[in-house]
Symmetry: C2
């Protein structure tokens, strides 16, 4: 069953390693090239995200390659959002009213190492580190790499997959083509982010509840915290570059940083003995969305962040990239392993779903930093959780559709989820949802209204 | 009153020439550089748009620089859309129910020549042709140009304005900056366009009605025709590159082209003796939208198509660029001629309106090629024209808001216009608008519903 095609995968991050593994299982000949050193031997560069939210769509890929149990051993369940107000009061808002629906905090390097380790079992995969791609010839499916010693090496293949992240060299080669109508965009938020931490307590325990994703929503800005297996938390500050009272441009002294945290995030401040050191040691990074179309040209395809980098606010960036591999795998099956046809089918069918999760992630930025703290939003969540609990097979919130219903495409989840949110918020605003109703009455009201919104029908009361 | 600042304007097309003129009137020292030869001495390259739709927002700029009468002499009024069906039946759909509201067909080179001629009256303007910008140093406000003889020349200024069109070298210099969060996108439609023509009749007259914009809507594809002062029409075919029965990829022989036109556009076909020659002589061009943000960096600003190239379906591309000059002029006045502050104010305040007209132009593509031929759309237009006629100070269709209400920003026109369209179509669909009502009753119904949609309120009939 060994296949003759030679595939070059550029980028051995999460998406590229998972793709290499799945294609190796199909007996293709793979060369997987990575610009960084082998992360299993190297220390992480300061400030890079060291944990991520892992959920059903990502798990789907690990099930497919047979690593379900091993990935689960790396997971720290987070059952809901732990909201921290300015007076240090907390409130847990669960992600779902159904049992067993939660997301996980997971180590990025741990996950990547798991995939790279597994690849060593496949003699048809050749992994090369410290080779930075600086040129791609799309028509000839060849690429030039710079090695650690400064010399150059050229590689050729039958197919090239670019899984080289938001700054993809393969995508840039597509952008540079003049005879190819390649639509592309790169959009930055007015906010940047910076990683900080809560170390473990003196007793070696977690400094706060580990089984939750902590959020300190403050309208325009926020911090969040996710647990690590070493009992620390990675804390991320999302702050505007300019404008407002506090921003990255005016937090320029340790005093200003301390004052800001003491005032806005007092309980978190107590848990951050190295706050000001970390603040000035770690980089401030931008938040960008990359979209493009099509994702394929000649025998080349881009996938994962290279094709659709998104902001981190739905916790779906990594999950979407893993789901790409599953979807591409489905295309291979559907075309009876015709690679060229699979490239085209994948590029066509996946695009709308990648756009949807990009949009949802942008929406969620506003939801997380502002709405989660609002009364109307909290009422909506309460009703939704009650409906999910009472009608687990019938009601799914937008969050559940996106995060836990991995068989529902992102685009469908977005369309239905948005209509449902609009319906509930509108019904609440007009006092059409109230405590005298049974949950079943509420369910019917929300469903009917949602359907009408989905059909673009306004009900006219005249 | 002479000012000390030296301004370099790159691109002497419609926007750059208008900008140079207005800044010259303010006594700035201007160097205006153009890559092409002087169009007053050169022959037009085949296939470039030779006429455009000119309307109120463009006229606003000509009023401001004192050229209203001279531009009007170049105009051919078009009072509405002349729709041609597949059986060669025609129907005129007026642009407005108010008297005196019409758009104009105008010659692009004629208009550009008018501005370049006028610039000769200003000793503080130096116009240089055949200098192609190939590098811009944004921090040093200097640029490198390649001359016709192949040599290079460098120019420096206090400010640089990039009015160098959709492929702007100034914008590309902004894109190349790594420390500057420059969001940008370039999106292509799946359709391209090709210019053709109706020559004058043997008697030297127009081949069809000159005072209309002709449209042959055919669902996925269409042709349009606009009159020229030499009694010819410029005809533009908008056709998919691939897919459907006919497309640019499969119309590869004179027979296929003739068959397609005979079948789809029989009355137009009769007026095109050189159809197949023109089809294969003239280039097929893509239809793209360029967006970016911000438009300014250091002392540089991009304007017109360089900042916001749009598809041609609302006839607003040129008008938006001329309005840019008016808006920038307002920023100069508001800041008491502080150029740096004006750059920033303009970039901030104009962006949402540029995005709005880009979106409206994309919407109109679908409206023109498909909806104009639909029953519900035609019912809507009938009601709107009647309301505009009966309540000329109270009712303005989306088209009127965008095209004739030049004091209304594009963003406002889009938001109100879309809500109004949604309201009317929804009311028609539910048979809430009918002939037993007075026009006044219809106006109130539409208005109330529009307001509710604008407020995001659904009316719940429970």
């Amino acid at each position: 069953m060994s296949k003759t095609e030679h595939i070059l995968i550029i980028g051995a991050g999460l998406c590229g390693s998972m793709l290499a593994l799945r294609l190796a299982q199909h007996q293709y000949n793979i060369t997987l090239v990575e610009k960084r050193p082998d992360l299993r031997q190297a220390k992480l560069s300061a400030g890079r995200s060291i944990n991520l939210a892992f959920s059903n769509r990502g798990l789907k890929a690990f099930k497919r390659v047979g690593l379900e149990d091993r990935v689960k051993a790396l997971c720290i369940p987070m059952h809901g959002r732990m909201l921290h107000d300015q007076n240090s009061k907390t409130k847990l808002s669960k992600y779902s009213g159904r049992d067993g629906e939660y997301i996980n905090s997971i180590s990025r390097p741990g996950l990547n190492a798991l995939l790279l380790d597994e690849l060593e079992n496949y003699p048809n995969v050749n992994v090369k580190f410290e080779m930075a791609c600086h040129e791609v010839n799309l028509e000839q499916t060849s690429a030039e790499f710079e090695l650690a010693n400064g010399s150059s090496q050229s590689l050729e293949a039958d197919y090239i997959f670019g899984t080289d992240g938001a700054g993809s060299a393969v995508r840039k080669a597509m952008q540079a083509k003049r005879d190819f109508l390649f639509s592309h965009s790169q959009d930055f938020l007015t906010h940047g982010y910076k990683e900080l931490s809560f170390p473990p307590t003196k007793d070696g325990d977690y400094a706060t509840e580990p089984n939750a994703l902590h959020i300190w929503p403050r309208g325009e800005n926020m911090i969040i915290a996710l647990p690590n297996q070493d009992k620390s938390f990675t804390v991320t500050l999302f702050l505007a570059y300019e404008g407002g009272r506090d921003n990255f441009n005016n937090l320029t002294t340790p005093e200003a940083v301390s004052d800001y945290f003491k005032r806005e995030y007092p309980d978190a401040f107590e848990l951050m003995p190295r706050l000001t050191e970390e603040f000035f040691e770690n980089p401030t990074a931008p938040l960008g969305t990359v979209r493009c179309n099509p994702w394929t040209y000649h025998n080349c395809l881009i996938m994962g962040d290279a094709a659709h980098a998104i902001v981190p606010f739905y916790g779906q960036g990594m999950n979407a990239s893993f789901e790409d591999v599953v979807e591409f795998d489905d295309c291979l099956e559907a075309t009876n392993f015709d690679l060229k046809a699979s490239l085209e089918q994948f590029s066509r069918s996946r695009k709308a779903n990648a756009d949807a999760i990009a949009d949802l992630a942008l929406d969620n930025f506003h939801e997380m930093k502002a709405h989660t703290a609002q009364e109307l939003f909290q009422q909506k969540r309460e009703i939704e959780l009650a409906l999910e609990e009472e009608f687990p097979q019938q009601y799914f919130s937008k969050y559940s559709l996106v995060t836990f219903q991995e068989q529902v495409p992102y685009k469908t989840a977005m369309d239905r989820g948005r209509a449902q949110d609009q319906a509930i918020l509108s019904l609440l605003k007009h006092q059409k949802l109230h405590q005298k109703q049974t949950r079943e009455e509420q369910l019917h009201l929300i469903r009917n209204f949602t359907e009408q919104i989905l059909k673009g029908e306004y009900i006219i009361n005249s």
